[in-house]
């Protein structure tokens, strides 16, 4: 029962995302047979060192979605960012319900609830790329560099972007 309802909801979200995609974002199931495994492409936001990059990520949805949030992981590496674990896993408040936040954001940031959506997650991740939250870093090295040696951080990000594009 749970998974068929989740499937219905995911299908609707997929339909909405493909008919009316937000700028710089594409997302959908890897195969139509499995609505619980999506791939997303996010463009690096303009005016940031991520500009020009296209970042692939996978989203894995639990069977009780949207009661529980999906997980999101950048694949192929190359996202040097305070809120992205070195293995690519995205750590952002919207992927955690309140009270279930491994990094204990202090301020009132957006949390997971069943009225969030894939679109909202991807938009949040896009703005996270532009504005890291160094309160609770997932990648401590990247956070330190971002805080203390901004120029070096930005260069490293740009290099990774180029590498990712095969340049």
């Amino acid at each position: 029962m749970a998974s068929s309802v989740a499937q219905k909801r995911l299908f609707h979200e997929y339909k909405n995302l493909s008919t009316n995609p937000p700028e710089g974002i594409t997302a959908g199931p890897v195969t139509e047979d499995d609505m619980f495994h999506w791939e997303a492409l996010i463009q690096g936001p303009e005016g940031t060192p991520f500009d020009g990059g296209v970042f692939a990520a996978e989203l894995k949805f639990p069977r009780d979605y949207p009661l529980s949030p999906p997980t999101m992981k950048f694949i192929g590496g190359g996202v040097w960012h305070p809120n992205v674990y070195p293995n690519g896993t995205v750590c952002i408040s919207i992927l955690h319900p309140p009270g279930d936040d491994p990094n204990h954001y202090e301020h009132a940031s957006e949390r997971w609830s069943p009225i969030q959506s894939v679109e909202k997650i991807l938009l949040s991740v896009m703005s996270m790329l532009a504005e890291p939250n160094d309160e609770s870093p997932a990648n401590v090295e990247a956070a330190k560099m971002w805080r203390e040696r901004r120029a070096e951080y930005e260069k490293k990000v740009r290099d990774e972007v180029k590498k990712g594009l095969g340049l």
């Binding site: 309802v5 319900p97 609830s113």
Partner: protein
């Protein structure tokens, strides 16, 4: 300074992050004796012991909700469906299905799209339809609802539907609630109402009742169990509907809600009373004050609601013994419509009280009507007897009154206060 080292702090943080309380038991339990609650407190503070002992007398049964963060939401949601089922009124359920659909406008009003909310609204509607079908199918008790509410996803989806409605209601009526909140209403909804498994607080509960329950006409009463002065739990009415036959009663213990059932719950157990509508007007009118229970005029206006089909066509001579399996209990729900016989279709003998007296052993309903299948649709309203202008008149059939007065009138202890 911090007495713990950084490493220790980190370790405790990790433990606290991964901590999940080990809560046992079903999401919604079967009805059980409230003595179990009294037992829990027998060695506790004497105030609590006194109050829980008194509670077990006034409210002999309870239903325990799993303490998983959803208990308050679940208690109200389950109470809503259970109360609706106990009324055994399919027309009322149809009205509730429409009302629930109309509440969806609130979700639109706060900008939610149907792709977000439809799966939750659908679940509530499914369970309302299930309740409707259970009544038509003559379900004996609410065990189907207990089963449904113990199915994790269905349970959560209904709760989520109620959460979304409550959240929308709060946003639309923010001026009514903001003053009671210690944070902006938007963040209150985002952190305390919308997410799954966040415990309901007083404001959320009030908004839930205002938005979802009030429109059903049900009352909601909370009985607070705490160490405040007194020998009994403190009741508090949450609904603008005064406590009536259809009242959801919650037991609140700090951080937890369960459902309570008072003694003499007329709603769940309609007393066996033989009533019959007749078009003639020379019977003495029903004297309400002679009854030990509250005659709800709107319920009594429903023909046959409180009629006892097993009586008057007692087992030995019943043409259809299977129509109404009679439980051992002196209380039970009156089956819907299965023996309803519109008076104008009745045999002529019913048209005159004199004739009725003359043939005392004839069943009160005429055989053709009894043969209708139990699930037959209710007769059209046009077939109801005409009533005088002073409202519904409920008359006791003298046939029933005379020889069996003691059996048919509720004078036995369960009805006396």
């Amino acid at each position: 300074m911090n007495p713990l080292s950084h490493d220790e702090m980190e370790r405790f943080q990790k433990l606290s992050n991964t901590y999940e309380p080990d809560v046992q038991g079903p999401l919604v339990s079967n009805k059980q004796s409230s003595h179990s609650i009294a037992l829990d407190y027998s060695n506790a503070d004497s105030t609590l012991a006194t109050k829980t002992n008194a509670l077990a007398v006034t409210h002999p049964e309870c239903r325990i909700m799993k303490g998983d963060g959803n208990c308050g939401w679940r208690a109200v949601a389950f109470g809503y469906f259970e109360t609706l089922f106990a009324l055994r009124d399919t027309i009322r359920i149809e009205a509730e299905i429409q009302r629930m659909k109309s509440l969806t406008a609130l979700l639109e009003q706060v900008g939610l799209s149907d792709s977000i909310y439809e799966i939750f609204v659908d679940t509530t509607e499914d369970v309302l339809n299930q309740t409707h079908a259970a009544i038509l199918g003559g379900a004996q008790d609410e065990s189907f609802l207990v089963e449904t509410f113990n199915e994790g996803y269905t349970s959560e989806a209904i709760i989520t539907h109620f959460r979304l409605l409550t959240s929308a209601w709060l946003k639309i009526n923010s001026s009514r609630y903001q003053a009671f909140l210690n944070m902006p209403l938007e963040s209150y909804c985002a952190t305390r109402i919308d997410p799954v498994k966040t415990e309901i607080d007083e404001i959320g509960l009030q908004a839930l009742v205002d938005c979802v329950i009030d429109g059903s006409g049900f009352g909601v009463e909370i009985l607070y169990l705490d160490r405040s002065q007194g020998d009994v739990v403190t009741p508090h009415q949450l609904s603008s509907n005064r406590p009536n036959d259809a009242t959801i009663r919650l037991l609140y213990r700090p951080g937890h809600y369960d459902i309570l059932y008072p003694a003499n719950n007329h709603l769940n157990m309609a007393p066996i009373v033989n009533l019959q509508y007749e078009m003639t007007s020379d019977y003495s009118p029903w004297d309400q004050s002679a009854l030990g229970f509250d005659v709800n005029s709107s319920l009594m206006a429903i023909p046959n609601l409180m009629q006892d089909p097993s009586f008057g066509m007692g087992a030995p001579m019943s043409p259809m013994p299977s129509v109404s399996p009679t439980p051992a209990s002196p209380f039970r729900m009156s089956p819907q419509q299965d023996v309803y016989s519109p008076p104008m279709h009745s045999s002529p003998m019913h048209s005159s009280p004199m004739q009725t007296h003359a043939i005392p052993s004839i069943p009160i309903s005429s055989p053709p009507a009894q043969l209708a299948p139990p699930s037959a649709a209710p007769p059209p309203m046009t077939s109801l007897p005409s009533r005088s202008s002073e409202g519904p008149q409920i008359r006791l059939n003298p046939l029933v009154m005379k020889p069996n007065l003691s059996r048919s009138l509720p004078v036995s202890p369960p009805f006396k206060k």
